[in-house]
C-alpha cells in the first residue's frame, strides 16, 4: 500500500537574533503574496489628496 506523503506545511522564517546582548526568538510566517500584490491591494487616495499632503498632515 502506498504511503501517504506528509502534507507540506509552509515553513516559518524563524531564528534567534541577538539584540542589545539578549537573544530573542523571532518567528514570522512567510507571506505568500508578492510585493506587487500586497501594494496593489492598498487604498487609492481620494481626489484632492496626495501622498505629500498626507505626510504633512500627520506631522502637524
Amino acid at each position: 500500500m502506498k504511503k501517504k506523503k506528509p502534507s507540506k506545511k509552509s515553513k516559518a522564517d524563524s531564528a534567534f537574533k541577538v539584540y542589545n546582548g539578549s537573544a530573542v526568538y523571532v518567528k514570522m510566517p512567510k507571506s505568500p503574496r508578492s510585493i506587487e500584490e500586497i501594494c496593489s491591494s492598498g487604498s487609492v487616495l481620494a481626489a484632492g489628496t496626495s501622498i505629500n499632503s498626507l505626510i504633512n498632515d500627520i506631522r502637524k
Binding site: V26, C39, S41, S43, V44, G48, S50, I51, I55, I58
Partner: protein, 190 residues
C-alpha cells in the same frame, strides 16, 4: 540643492544596493508603497521595484517604532478622506472632537495596517523595529533635533538611525534631510 557634508541623494532604481547595509524606513516610504496616488504613480512603482531589490539583495531593514503610529494615522486620514469628509472634519475626528465617524471605516483602516505588516513580513528576520527605550536613543533623538532644527518625528526617525551608526535612510523628504551630513538619502525615483 545644498547637501550636508558627505550626504548623497541616491536613486531608488538605478543606484546599486550596498552589501550588508541596513536601510532605515521613513514613514513616507511604506505610505508610498501601500497607498496609491493616481497623480503620482511613478513613486508608487519605483517604491515597489526598490522593495523587490531590497528583498533580492537580502538587505536588512530597520525602523523606529514611531513609524507604526504614523502609518496608522495616515491610514485613518486616507479612509476618512475617501469617505468624503473634509479636512476640518478629519482633524476634528482625530483630535477627539467627533471620533464616531472613524467607526464606519475601521475595517478599511485595519486592512491597510495588515498590508503594512505583510510588507514588513516579507523581510522575515532581516527586519528590526527599534524601540526608544534602548538606552541612549532618546539622547540622540533630542541632540539631532536641536542640532539640525528638525520636526520631532523627523528627529525621532533620524536620531534612531544615527544611534545605530547606520547611514542609509529611505525618505522622500529631501528638504529636511539634505542638510544632514554623512547620510545616503534614498529619495530619487524619476
Amino acid at each position: 540643492m545644498t547637501l550636508g557634508n558627505r550626504a548623497t541623494l541616491k536613486h531608488l532604481i538605478n543606484d546599486k544596493i550596498p552589501k550588508d547595509a541596513t536601510f532605515y524606513f521613513d514613514t513616507n516610504f511604506p505610505i508610498s508603497a501601500i497607498f496609491q496616488d493616481e497623480r503620482n504613480s511613478f513613486r508608487h512603482k519605483a517604491v515597489i521595484k526598490f522593495i523587490k531589490r531590497l528583498l533580492d539583495s537580502k538587505a536588512q531593514i530597520a525602523c523606529a517604532s514611531i513609524l507604526f503610529e504614523e502609518f496608522f494615522r495616515a491610514s485613518v486620514r486616507v479612509e476618512l478622506a475617501r469617505g468624503q469628509y473634509s479636512k476640518k472634519e478629519i482633524n476634528r475626528a482625530l483630535s477627539g472632537g467627533k471620533p464616531k465617524i472613524i467607526s464606519y471605516h475601521i475595517k478599511d483602516i485595519e486592512k491597510n495596517m495588515f498590508l503594512f505588516n505583510e510588507l514588513l513580513s516579507k523581510f522575515g528576520t532581516r527586519r528590526r523595529v527599534i524601540l526608544p527605550s534602548e538606552p541612549g536613543i532618546i539622547e540622540k533623538i533630542l541632540e539631532t533635533r536641536c542640532k539640525y532644527n528638525l520636526h520631532e518625528a523627523d528627529a525621532f526617525h533620524l536620531g534612531t538611525m544615527l544611534f545605530g551608526k547606520h547611514k542609509h535612510f529611505i525618505s522622500f523628504d529631501k528638504n529636511d534631510f539634505k542638510k544632514i551630513p554623512g547620510i545616503n538619502l534614498w529619495c530619487k525615483h524619476e
